[in-house]
């Protein structure tokens, strides 16, 4: 069960990776949307993408546009993990499966991931 985590903050990436790996998930990391697209097109599709929005190089909005245009990637569930105050509006705008607002509770993270990757 592979989860792709996309965030420009390495500390956040590492912390999420530790939590998920402890529960037996395989975790791949990407520091921006472009890296995430490369990762998706390289290997087997993950069961879930955890996506930050504000990132350099390619932000969450640009990533979602690219993802939804690629039929091979469009169906992968994507959860926004963001500190943005309008996360609910972003979820609708980006046609995402849901959102986790930073600072997210580890249990909420595990529960969400468990829903898509069991």
């Amino acid at each position: 069960m592979k989860v792709l985590v996309v965030d420009d903050d390495y500390a956040v990436l590492d912390a999420i990776k530790d939590v998920l790996e402890d529960e037996g998930y395989e975790v791949t990391l990407a520091a921006n949307g472009l890296e995430a697209l490369k990762e998706l097109r390289r290997g087997a599709p993950p069961c879930l993408i955890l996506l930050d929005l504000m990132m350099p190089v390619m932000n969450g909005w640009e990533f979602r546009r690219e993802q939804l245009e690629d039929t091979a990637l469009a169906g992968i569930p994507t959860i926004l993990i963001t500190a943005h105050t309008r996360a609910d509006e972003n979820t609708t705008e980006l046609k995402a499966s849901g959102f986790l607002r930073k600072p997210a509770q580890p249990n909420a993270l595990l529960e969400t991931v468990g829903r898509y990757c069991s």
Partner: protein, 516 residues
């Protein structure tokens, strides 16, 4: 008719009274016959005289005729008969008739004189009353005229002393009146403008105003607060508010217009100023809102990391993996440091805006500070793919606040790593006799000229909020610290080619007023 009320009696009354008096005289003659038997016409004669005196020649004649017939019939022998009486009685009766006739004619003449006199008196009375009326009317007219004059003087005084510009024009737009207010505002003396058309005051693009105003005035309509632009004699243009009223003649026909013009330059200025302040306030409110949103975002990120790290830490400790727990604690400390830095930045905003950014100057080695900061960034730079190239000769010392200087270098390095696109970053410290320079050059995304102008402003950022986090405070705080040291900060940048920030610091505090 004063003194002769009987003249006003109607004819029927006077003649009736003549008959009655005649009757009374005959009755009395009959009653006291022994007394009047030798002169029976005596009472009748008195009655004829009384009728003539009081009621005129006509009634007197009637009384005389009736008396003559009655005397002839009743009292001349043979009594109660129309047969001829004795000669002596006839002579007496004839005498009575002749004297009575003469009396009646005399009374008729007296009455004519009385009537004439009464008419003259009435005419004189009417003339006197007419004269009195005329005198009164003249007095009233004079009073009205004085009132009109008083009003005119008052109006003239108001027009003369008015601060407003008051101009009267005819229906062709020619200027008829020009008050001192007009002269003050527009610069023309009355003799320069009287008779000329009002369009001389209108800039070419506003000449159409004249027809608009005159059309409305011809229809008898008033124009309130018409805002336009007018031109002074000097050619200077100014905004004006006009109120124009039709002037009507006595027949109610519109013959011209009175204009009151007010210079609204100050009002327009204050309106513009209010609008500017409002825009600024709105802009400030928006910036503050954005800033609070960004600050929340920035604080949430390390808090998220800490939450996840503590979760993992608990599991590591429960599993007895002390070495992994210690490593995790080290990483958590990094997040705490980050929170402290963010909090310090927020406090710095308060300190700087309230003028309480106090420097603790001490002998400080700029190269040392730079190397230490670069060392802290080594990991972050490595992960971002940026190589740090440092050129910092030893012994670049000055009297600076060490921790604030560290903040300056940290902010510049943080930006360089963040926007450096994984390319090398050059950090250089250069000594001079009185100044020291530190420069940080990256080869990243760079900035446009427009962004450069506001990169040191509070809450501003030269990049998309969607792509780069941060509170937009780093460079603003950096500039405040540099300027507090009497130094200056500059930036050169080009989109896609990277940026170079250059900080020049005096080695020792400058005398007041030399900074910058």
């Amino acid at each position: 008719m004063n003194g002769y009320p009987e003249l006003t009696r109607p004819a029927w009354f006077r003649y009736t009274m003549a008959v009655v008096l005649c009757g009374v005289a005959l009755l009395l003659t009959n009653l006291f016959w022994p007394l009047f038997q030798y002169m029976p016409q005596m009472l009748c004669f008195l009655a004829v005289c009384a009728c003539g005196y009081y009621w005129g020649g006509g009634p007197s004649l009637l009384c005389l005729v009736l008396s003559t017939i009655a005397l002839y019939y009743y009292f001349l022998l043979p009594q109660r008969s129309l047969s001829v009486a004795d000669t002596a009685s006839l002579i007496r009766l004839g005498g009575f008739l002749a004297v009575g006739l003469t009396g009646s004619v005399a009374f008729q003449s007296l009455w004519a004189t009385r009537r004439r006199q009464a008419e003259l008196v009435a005419q004189a009375d009417a003339a006197r009353q007419a004269a009195e009326r005329t005198t009164k009317e003249i007095a009233e007219l004079l009073e009205t005229r004085r009132e009109v004059e008083r009003n005119l003087y008052r109006l003239a005084a108001i027009v003369e002393s008015s601060e407003d510009t008051i101009i009267a024009i005819d229906l062709e737009g020619r200027i008829l009146e020009w008050n001192p207010g007009a002269e003050r505002l527009l610069g023309y003396r009355p003799e320069e403008v009287l008779g000329k058309t009002i369009s001389i005051l209108m800039p070419p693009e506003h000449r159409g105003d004249m027809n608009v105003i005159l059309d409305q005035i011809r229809r008898g309509e008033r124009i309130e607060h018409f805002e336009s632009v007018r031109m002074k004699k000097s050619g200077e243009r100014f905004p004006v508010s006009l109120s124009v009223s039709p002037i009507k003649d006595a027949a109610g026909q519109v013959v011209g217009a009175a204009k009151i013009a007010r210079d609204i330059t100050e009002r327009k200025k204050s309106e513009a100023e209010r609008e500017r302040l409002y825009r600024e306030a709105q802009e400030a409110a928006r910036a503050r809102e954005d800033f609070l949103s960004m600050a929340g975002h920035e604080l949430r990120t390390p808090l998220t990391t800490l939450q996840f790290q503590f979760h993992t830490l608990g599991r590591r400790l429960a599993a007895g993996q002390a070495d992994k727990a210690v490593e995790l604690l080290e990483r958590s400390r990094g997040q705490l440091d980050r929170l402290v830095r963010l909090t310090e930045e927020l406090l710095d905003v308060t300190r700087i805006t309230s003028g309480r950014l106090d420097l603790e100057r001490e002998e400080t080695d700029l190269s040392g500070v730079t190397r230490e900061a670069a060392e802290r960034f080594r990991d972050a730079a490595q992960r971002a793919g940026c190589e740090l190239r440092i050129e910092a000769p030893p012994g670049v010392r000055g009297t600076w606040d060490k921790s604030r200087l560290d903040q300056v270098v940290t902010n510049l390095l943080s930006n360089a790593v963040k926007f450096g696109k994984g390319k090398p970053i050059e950090i250089r410290v250069e000594p001079d006799t009185a100044w020291a320079r530190i420069s940080v050059r990256d080869q990243g995304i760079g900035m446009s000229q427009e962004d450069l102008s506001k990169v040191f402003d509070r809450f501003e950022r030269a990049v998309s909020r969607r792509s780069y986090g941060g509170m937009g405070l780093g460079l603003w705080i950096t500039r405040q610290i540099v300027e507090a040291h009497g130094g200056k900060i500059e930036v050169e940048s080009e989109p896609g080619r990277g940026s170079m920030f250059r900080v020049d610091l005096p080695l020792d505090p400058l005398p007041r007023g030399v900074a910058g």
